[in-house]
Symmetry: C2
Subunit: 81 residues, 2 copies
């Protein structure tokens, strides 16, 4: 069965996000005052698995082994058929 995992990876609470700081600064220079800004990365992956549970485990393993750095990132996974 083909599954579609939407994986969202962001920094853990308290980690510095220099990219977000730079973007906030640039938006401010353009006249857009912002209270707060966060950046995240989205991966949309389609792959084959026997069932939903196997698909969720695969998506989790992809995060742990490649996509995310468990020391600084937290991730959310949403798997649909």
């Amino acid at each position: 069965m083909m599954f579609r995992a939407t994986i969202t990876i962001g920094l853990k609470e308290g980690m510095l996000d220099p990219e977000a700081t730079a973007i906030r600064h640039a938006l401010g220079n353009l006249g857009f005052a912002t209270e707060d800004l966060h950046t995240k990365k989205l991966f949309i992956v389609r792959f084959d698995a026997a069932d939903l549970q196997e698909a969720e485990e695969s998506a989790k393993a992809m995060c742990e082994r490649l996509l995310a750095n468990p020391v600084i990132h937290r991730y959310e996974i949403e798997v649909r058929q």
Copy 2:
């Protein structure tokens, strides 16, 4: 009023995504066969606006003027209070 815009920026249909290709390749090397992989960027911005319409217009302007490159990117904006 404070609003929260979730801005998702991805490549337009047909644009090459070398990052996605590299990640698919790396996942394959780890034993994860994938059918398809897309990457997107997420910006979560909190800012002040008079009403929802003004907030949506501001978020759109942020995309057009800084966050997205209209030639290669397409973006989706979701604004909530």
